[in-house]
Subunit: 227 residues, 2 copies
DNA sequence: CGGGGTATTGAGACAAATCAACCTTGGTGG
DNA sequence: CCACCAAGGTTGATTTGTCTCAATACCCCG
């Protein structure tokens, strides 16, 4: 058990890149593992922000729901991703599991101390925080400036680059149409029609509702791009 | 000149709250003042990210333009705000002046070192970074889930809370209709009609194109809210 | 008192939302 | 093994909201 908690388990997270096992031990000492079923809630909106998380396996969805019931999906997390930044001392979004997931949890206070004591971690923390901001800005651009089918390209392209796995042209869509719609600021019907359009235009082929292949990488990136 | 660069000048930025003048001196030593005319460009998209900035007076607009020419306004900055986070080592957005502005500039490397040496600054840096992320998420919610007139409420409410000045109900819109449109993911015509609707519904009164008064605070916040 | 940029207003076109029907798939029990 | 069902996804018809294009009004500055 204690053995399990050595640096081995950290291996795949960007956060801990470039560190030796000894250097990681202080973090290993404060971390706990958490195992979550599909559709379970890892973080609830308005909960006090006491912990940070890294995702070991599975997939997460970050979402915010307003009092009026409208939901905005903020992002998806894949293995290696870091979760838990907040603007206050409460979470302003929820995190739910799309698949069975393994997480590492770190008490916020202690984690920040440990990070402070190591220059590489400090740098990584900054990079990751800024990376998340960058992703939010990309999504902002997509929602503000793009049509339905372009937004869908944005999502497919993003999954393509972030989802683990070797095959660069075969994409697994682990989330439901409703999740996609709420991520892109559309309705499920419009998402469905966007899929149909991309298929008709020869950009993708649809193997099943949750499995697509990229046929025209060029066109996809073009429509997905925010630069 | 050197006298001018003491902690006095930092006084109004959230970033430096809770610090004594001596503690601020190392930062004062590396900072430079910059004076910019309206419409001038403070940061150009794709420039190497070498500096951080705090805004002393005036107002800034952050924007991102894609190769296809579409522009997304990412945010507005008011005195006391901090500017310069990036996800890579290049700026992925431009910063232009809406008004004549005074900035403080800090070389990135040295600034980070100085921040590292002071726990309060470290905490402030985190808070500010996360605050910017939080703002981006609010905007994301507005673009994804709201109608034109609700998005406009979102902007008005935001300016109301962030723009300096005492009068809580009188709002100065320092940006053009085009800027507002590109911020909210709309066209200028739709923005104009949204203003008209809010006026008709008695939520605001329009004193001039760049000056509005809030009549129904309740309704405004309701429509603006992302929670 | 012009004149150019900026904002508003109107009419028609178009994209996305809504409402409704239908299809697919995966699981269950007879 | 197949009939059935429920949930999720697709497709079609209609409505609504926003964009586009065009005309008009406003306002700051010379």
């Amino acid at each position: 058990m204690s053995q399990e908690k050595t640096a081995e388990t950290f291996f795949h997270s960007k956060f801990f890149r470039g560190l030796t096992n000894e250097e990681l031990q202080p973090l290993a000492d404060i971390c706990q593992r958490k195992h979550l079923k599909p559709h379970s809630v890892a973080i609830r909106q308005n909960d006090p922000a006491t912990h940070f998380y890294t995702l070991i396996s599975g997939a997460l969805m970050l979402e915010r729901t307003s009092r009026s019931g409208r939901r905005q999906v903020i992002g998806f997390s894949f293995p290696g991703d870091f979760v838990g930044f907040t603007s206050g001392d409460e979470f302003d979004y929820s995190v739910v599991c799309l698949q069975e997931s393994h997480l590492q949890t770190f008490p916020q206070q202690k984690f920040l101390e440990a990070v402070d004591n190591h220059p590489i971690l400090k740098k990584n923390a900054r990079n990751i925080g800024n990376g998340i901001l960058g992703q939010a800005l990309d999504q902002l651009f997509a929602l503000g400036q793009k049509k339905a089918h372009e937004r869908l390209c944005f999502l497919i392209d993003q999954i393509n680059h972030r989802q683990p796995g070797t095959d660069r042209s075969s994409i697994e869509l682990i989330m439901s149409r409703q999740d996609i719609a709420d991520y892109l600021g559309l309705t499920i019907e419009t998402v469905s029609r966007a899929f149909a359009k991309l298929k008709k235009d020869g950009v993708i082929s649809i193997e099943s509702a949750h499995q697509v292949k990229i046929l025209d990488d060029e066109a996809l990136e073009q429509m997905a791009s925010a630069h």
